[in-house]
């Protein structure tokens, strides 16, 4: 009889089924879509881990100066190219506790390279929540507390070199932490603007069709044919020279977002076109729903997951754009600190040969981009398990 019907959970009909299954079925039946999505997402282990990685990245970005221990702009030519020097955990006398030995540099007269040796007679303990250079916590409170540091009487700028120093003798770890903040945030406003433009214009295009659709589609085609790099150079040249590099870059990302919305705009238009013909939209209209309600209640909620996924996938593009443009000297410039700027310092072969650790900023770039891509894929799969 009625058994060949697709049988999703129907607790009422299960007869003497077991209680645990019943409860589970009920939970799924009354779960809103976002909850189902979350349950599916949770099963996606890689995406979940990627989510944690991204959360960690932004925590670092938020508290960058707290995690840094040396003033990132403090250059000391005398201590350039110090190789990474890890923290020591066990002293010779058997006591336990993190400490570092001070480094002494000596010129090797055969290679003319400076060789750094640890002075093992002196141990400087590493402290948590130590005092260091002054900064504004969260941009609000003046403080000089850092996650790690050295006791009073020493300065971390000349003692701790977790990831070594660059050609100006600045601490790479501290600079990397500050670069993380810049690289992960500077494009976000642009991404957000693209998002708003894409959803609004794509939505209008798909919902109303006809003349507005034709106009918006032509605009998209024109914008898509604009080559981005020359445009970038043009805008950079047009902006006032008195602006700081960060401000110029920020302005450019905002202008570029006026182009960047087209991909999302097309996607949203496609979804709206498709949704417009769904019967439940017609049903809503037949019982008197107006356009505003149809868009708000019946269309946009079905798109949110896609919008979230599209945004998550747009962020890594923004990171790569910053890194590669700055590396080429077209994006951020010193004194701004970003991953791209740091890599630009490592641009010449001699530097790389002498101080390979200056390439360390490549690692967070790759990690962040991968994490965002995995997260975006996970969100998309969870939003739309059947693909498409």
């Amino acid at each position: 009889m009625g058994t060949s019907e697709r049988p999703p959970p129907r607790p009422g009909d299960t007869g003497g089924g077991n209680v645990a299954v019943l409860v589970e079925e009920d939970r799924i039946s009354v779960a809103p879509q976002w909850k189902l999505m979350w349950w599916r997402f949770r099963k996606h282990k890689v995406a979940v881990s990627a989510g944690f990685v991204i959360a960690a990245f932004y925590l670092v970005a938020l508290l960058a100066n707290f995690f840094a221990y040396s003033d990132p702009d403090d250059s000391r030519p005398a201590q350039s190219f110090i190789p990474p020097s890890p923290i020591q955990w066990f002293a010779e006398d058997g006591t336990f506790g993190p400490y570092v030995h001070p480094l002494v540099g000596e010129r090797d007269f055969e290679t003319f390279k400076k060789v750094w040796e640890a002075d093992e007679t002196v141990s400087i303990p590493i402290q948590l929540f130590a005092r260091g250079y002054e900064y504004k916590l969260l941009g609000l409170f003046d403080t000089d507390i850092h996650l790690i540091g050295v006791p009073e009487g020493y300065e971390s700028e000349s003692t701790i070199f977790l990831l070594g120093t660059d050609n100006f003798g600045r601490d790479i770890f501290s600079r990397l932490v500050l670069a993380t903040r810049t690289s992960l945030t500077i494009g976000l406003v642009g991404v957000f603007l693209s998002l708003v433009l894409g959803v609004t214009l794509g939505g209008i295009s798909g919902y109303y069709g006809g003349v507005p659709d034709s106009i918006i589609q032509r605009i998209i085609e024109i914008l898509r044919s604009v080559p981005v790099i020359p445009l970038w150079l043009g805008i950079a040249a047009a902006l006032p020279l008195t602006w700081s590099p960060t401000r110029i870059y920020f302005s450019i990302t905002i202008i570029i977002s006026l182009i960047g919305w087209t991909t999302l705009g097309r996607e949203v238009r496609g979804r709206f076109l498709q949704l417009r013909h769904e019967d439940f939209i017609m049903a809503a209209r037949l019982c008197g729903a107006r356009d505003g309600r149809i868009i708000r209640v019946h269309m946009v909620p079905l798109l949110t997951s896609h919008i979230i996924a599209a945004t998550t996938l747009a962020v890594p593009l923004m990171i790569i754009a910053e890194t590669s443009l700055s590396f080429l000297g077209l994006g951020l410039r010193p004194p701004a600190i970003s991953w791209g700027v740091m890599l630009q310092d490592a641009q010449n072969v001699q530097t790389v040969a002498q101080a390979i650790w200056m390439l360390i900023p490549v690692a967070p770039v790759i990690l962040a981009v991968l994490a965002f891509n995995f997260l975006g894929d996970g969100v998309r799969d969870a939003a739309d398990p059947y693909g498409g």
Binding site: E5, P32, Q33, D279, A283
Partner: protein, 351 residues
């Protein structure tokens, strides 16, 4: 030219009163091409159909896929704007209103009286809304602002369509196709409509629940005094539930009349061909499409003369040049065939 009573003539030459009178309804979709969206021609999806719907009856609209049934009924509820014609609706208050050129705002107060049940129960319910919100939406939009009132009414409606009221907090994904269709029916009934238009309401359902759903519709008609326009491409379904039958072919109604007359004594060769294709014994086969010689004509480029002539077993030379007009036979049957007077066609045989 617009407005209540415009050109309406409640002439009922048959005693029972009409709820809807459709006259010469047309819907042509422009075919656009190229960069500038130039109009190259028209798909004549509905090409001048006229019929009446009587209070309390079930009028079946049948025809092969692509004959324009969906387009026609969507024009009736003004989900599409008709190209031409009149849709005269007899309102609750006894007035005749031509729906064909009302604005959306003017239509809104009339909406509750005319509701629709859709074909595909997967597409007809918003997956992000609970059953309560789905069935409650028409109530909310028509002034029932108190949530508890809505809950009470939704409970009542769910009982009406034989679903458990406890299910109202669930989302559509928790229901089977048949159950979802019942939810769709409950939504259509929420505002106490007088006319319910069902566009192939069972053809997407499993065979085993088709009969159940049809019976539910019949019971509801009895209980609530509803009038149905029932679209189907399956004559075995129609035979079961209709009072009168209109047969559509390429945007035209080629024959319309009482069910028994149409079934046992068809007057149009197309009707006869459809009937011939109805399987009588094996209920499973009723899902198969009607095998008719040749392809349905293209409504963008219909044949000359009688649209059916390339497929008609009785076609003569005249059929390729002359366009048939509707002729009244046996009192109130209308047939569009040039040879209606001379042909003797086989109908279904009882048994």
């Amino acid at each position: 030219m617009t407005g209540p009573g415009g050109g309406a003539s409640p002439t009922s030459d048959h005693g029972s009163s009409n709820i809807l009178e459709v006259r010469n309804l047309k819907k042509h979709f422009p075919i656009r091409v190229g960069f500038a969206n130039r109009v190259k021609g028209h798909v004549r999806a509905v090409d001048g159909i006229s019929f009446d719907v009587r209070q309390g009856e079930t009028l079946a609209l049948v025809g092969e896929s692509g004959s324009g049934k969906t387009t026609a009924v969507r024009c009736l509820v003004r989900a599409l704007d008709p190209t031409a014609g009149e849709i005269r609706f007899h309102t609750e208050t006894g007035k005749w209103i031509d729906l064909s050129d009302l604005s959306r705002r003017e239509l809104r107060p009339l909406r509750p009286q005319m509701q629709m049940v859709f074909q595909d129960p997967r597409s007809s319910l918003n997956p992000r809304m609970t059953v309560l919100d789905i069935i409650g939406e028409p109530l909310l939009l028509n002034g029932m602002n108190n949530r508890n009132d809505r809950i009470d009414r939704v409970e009542e409606l769910l009982r009406l369509v034989r679903l458990r009221p406890e299910y109202m907090r669930r989302f559509p994904h928790a229901f089977s196709g048949g159950q979802r269709q019942r939810i769709g029916i409950a939504r259509a009934l929420a505002l106490n409509p007088r006319l319910v238009i069902a566009d192939e309401p069972v053809s997407a359902l499993d065979v085993s629940v088709q009969a159940q759903t049809l019976n539910l519709l019949l019971e509801l008609q009895e209980e609530l005094g509803l009038t149905y326009i029932f679209v189907a491409h399956d004559l075995s379904v129609v035979k079961h539930i209709s009072d009168r039958v209109a047969v559509m072919y390429v945007g035209k109604i080629v024959e319309i009349g009482e069910r028994d007359q149409v079934f046992f004594n068809p007057k149009h060769p197309y009707t006869a061909a459809l009937l011939n294709a109805v399987p009588r014994t094996d209920p499973r086969a009723s899902r198969t499409r009607i095998p008719l010689r040749g392809e349905v004509a293209d409504p963008a480029d219909p044949p000359s003369g009688c649209y059916f002539h390339p497929r008609c077993a009785y076609a003569i030379e005249r059929c390729g040049t002359e366009t048939p007009v509707a002729e009244v036979v046996d009192g109130e049957r209308r047939v569009e065939c040039l040879r209606v007077a001379e042909l003797e066609l086989p109908g279904v045989t009882t048994g």
